[in-house]
Symmetry: C2
Subunit: 159 residues, 2 copies
Amino acid sequence: MIRTLILLLLAAPLAALAQEDVAAQIIALERAALDRWNQADPQGYLDLYAPDMTYFDPSLDARLDGIEAMQRYYAPLFGAKYPFTQPRYEMLNPSVQHHGEVAILTFNLINYGTFEGQGEAVIARWNSTEVYRLVEGRWMICHSHWSYIKSEVPEGMSL
Amino acid sequence: MIRTLILLLLAAPLAALAQEDVAAQIIALERAALDRWNQADPQGYLDLYAPDMTYFDPSLDARLDGIEAMQRYYAPLFGAKYPFTQPRYEMLNPSVQHHGEVAILTFNLINYGTFEGQGEAVIARWNSTEVYRLVEGRWMICHSHWSYIKSEVPEGMSL
């Protein structure tokens, strides 16, 4: 009887703790991949991408599907020379919506770099969606959507 | 023995059928909401949005969180007068990744309208992510991300 009561009292806080734990874990995975990206190393993301990965970003004509497409897409970016130094980022207001084997991480990202003689400047402001799912017990990204905050309608588009 | 064999033979095709069924169901929900949107009726989407909804689009400064924020955001769009007639859309290459209680719908969307004296024109080209989840047995959207295909870096941003 007392044991049941203790179990009941423990259950709710433990569930909340488990959710927080998933959120912290997902955010840490994303930050580690971003840190490597800023060092011109896309392998951090490639290691996180699930085989059935789908992907959008503002420079593409259409969705990319599958890890092989991502490997080809990122290949030229390894060791890329940036026109700035000291890249850093702010991850603003990260949110993790965890439902079963899926966790949806969303955040705004601000990229900064230092330009010679000009000091630090904002390079890009992003809306970021990273949908993680459990693949054999490991959180991997199965969908990624990157877009510019307040982006303009591309030239030539009416309205 | 024979019954077990029949069950085993049935299991794989039934699982595949169930996945197809979810994909068809999700795409039908999205199309119904898009059809209403094109008639200046955002209620189709609002009815699909889960309470814990998160949302990005290119005209926002940051993520919107929660159904109430979405209701306020869409309120001015009810009955909006478009500068064109005969709105229609193409949903290109829809994909549904279904994992447990979550289904990730991604597609490219082309919006068309007819302008007086100019005929039909493309109004916008979108990258679209709609993450659905089961809420008490009903598929609802818990995250939405809309961005322009090949959007430009917003003016004033370096690089």
